[in-house]
């Protein structure tokens, strides 16, 4: 039995649809329990007074990365079947800047805005409304940005492929950088830096 189960036939399309809400539920649950449905806590990372978001996100990233690497190596997961989105460098960089600006102004990102809304926070609903309006505006204006949207295509590449290092070396570099980052973040929060 090899994962990803939706790709290897263990879970059919219907099974995938059943599992997705379950994963979404626990994703939202842990975000809320981690305090990430509260905009001032999220905004605090930009002022370097509370770096919880950084720690939670990098913990999830490192856990998933190490888990995916070793599950692939022991033959339980076939990473070649995991969907990897294509890279379009310039439009995605512009999207990242827009995303960051929206995060800074709204205090919430798409996932956390849903968590905030689910716990009854009006700012969460406001961010969701803005997000949907942005989606609609983007679709309406798509012909104007279509060329930029498809510019600088790089295919489905990974950072390790671009850097010319092995996937395992990439895992080690990111993990050790994250551990150093956690230690530094804790010192910053305690005002020792």
């Amino acid at each position: 039995m090899t994962a990803p189960f939706t790709e290897t036939g263990v879970l059919g399309p219907a099974g995938g649809l059943l599992v997705a809400p379950l994963i979404g539920f626990f994703f939202g649950w842990f975000l809320e329990r981690g305090g990430l449905g509260y905009a001032p806590k999220l905004a605090a990372q930009f002022y370097l007074t509370d770096l919880t978001v950084f720690k939670v996100m990098f913990t999830a990233l490192v856990t998933a990365m190490i888990g995916a690497f070793w599950l692939d190596r022991i033959g339980f997961l076939d990473l070649r079947l995991v969907y990897m989105p294509e890279t379009f460098a310039a439009p995605q960089a512009a999207g990242g800047v827009l995303f960051g600006a929206g995060f800074l102004f709204g205090g919430l990102c798409p996932g956390t805005s849903c968590v905030a809304a689910a716990t009854g926070r009006l700012d969460g609903l406001g961010v969701i409304a803005g997000m949907l309006a942005g989606v609609a505006a983007f679709n309406g204006a798509f012909p104007l940005v279509a060329d930029f949207y498809a510019s600088t295509p790089m295919g489905a590449v990974t950072i390790t492929e671009l850097a010319g290092v092995s996937r395992g070396a990439g895992v080690a570099i990111v993990t050790l950088a994250a551990i150093a980052g956690f230690a530094l973040a804790t010192r910053i929060e305690r005002g020792r830096v």
Partner: protein
């Protein structure tokens, strides 16, 4: 709590360093059963119809491609395949001389989010055995005779030579006639291609 965090950091660090040391070894994953295949006669019929929605990619070496390839196929490296335009509605077909490389190509296209990608199992070997030079054993079953009639018309279209009433041992073995996986597929393909070329096809 601080001790737990430190312990987790140590575990993550050790696992990541081990990952760097381990990498380079091939993962022990076989071709999964969920790969979508296309049979050579089905592909041949779509090519014969001039179906514009079929794209065939040959991921073997350029020498092998020059010797012989499936009509309409384009030579492709895995790197080039990652950037190849893939319009919606296209049926992508890939083939190689060994299952692993063909599967790499198949998985690469799937990973780009394109769902309709098929693997021509046993590649050119199946193309020659079932389309270009189909053979009918003298003691063939009714099912084999039906398939042969279909294959013979395809064979003539693609310039092949169908042969009827041969001895059973002259019929190529393959997954399609229940002989299981073909051992030494690359060599069997080379021999089959050489045979076709000797006959001037």
């Amino acid at each position: 709590m601080r001790g737990l965090h430190s312990a987790l950091a140590v575990v993550a660090g050790l696992l990541s360093v081990a990952a760097a040391a381990w990498d380079g070894r091939a993962p022990g994953v076989a071709v999964p059963a969920s790969v979508d295949y296309i049979a050579a006669p089905d592909l041949a019929e779509r090519i014969l119809r001039g179906d514009p929605a079929v794209r065939v990619w040959d991921v073997r070496s350029s020498e092998e491609f020059e010797q012989m390839h499936v009509p309409t196929a384009r030579l492709m490296t895995l790197a080039a395949l990652a950037d190849e335009p893939l319009p919606a509605g296209v049926t992508a077909v890939v083939y190689a001389n060994d299952d692993r490389r063909a599967f790499e190509a198949w998985a690469l296209v799937r990973r780009r989010g394109h769902r309709d990608v098929r693997l021509l199992r046993q590649g050119l070997y199946e193309w020659i055995g079932r389309v270009l030079e189909p053979r009918l054993a003298a003691d063939a079953t009714p099912a084999e005779r039906t398939e042969f009639e279909r294959a013979a018309s395809l064979s003539r279209f693609f310039g092949g030579v169908p042969r009827a009433n041969v001895e059973r041992r002259e019929v190529p073995v393959g997954y399609w006639n229940g002989e299981g996986a073909q051992a030494g597929l690359a060599e069997a393909t080379r021999n089959a291609v050489a045979g076709v070329r000797r006959r001037g096809c």
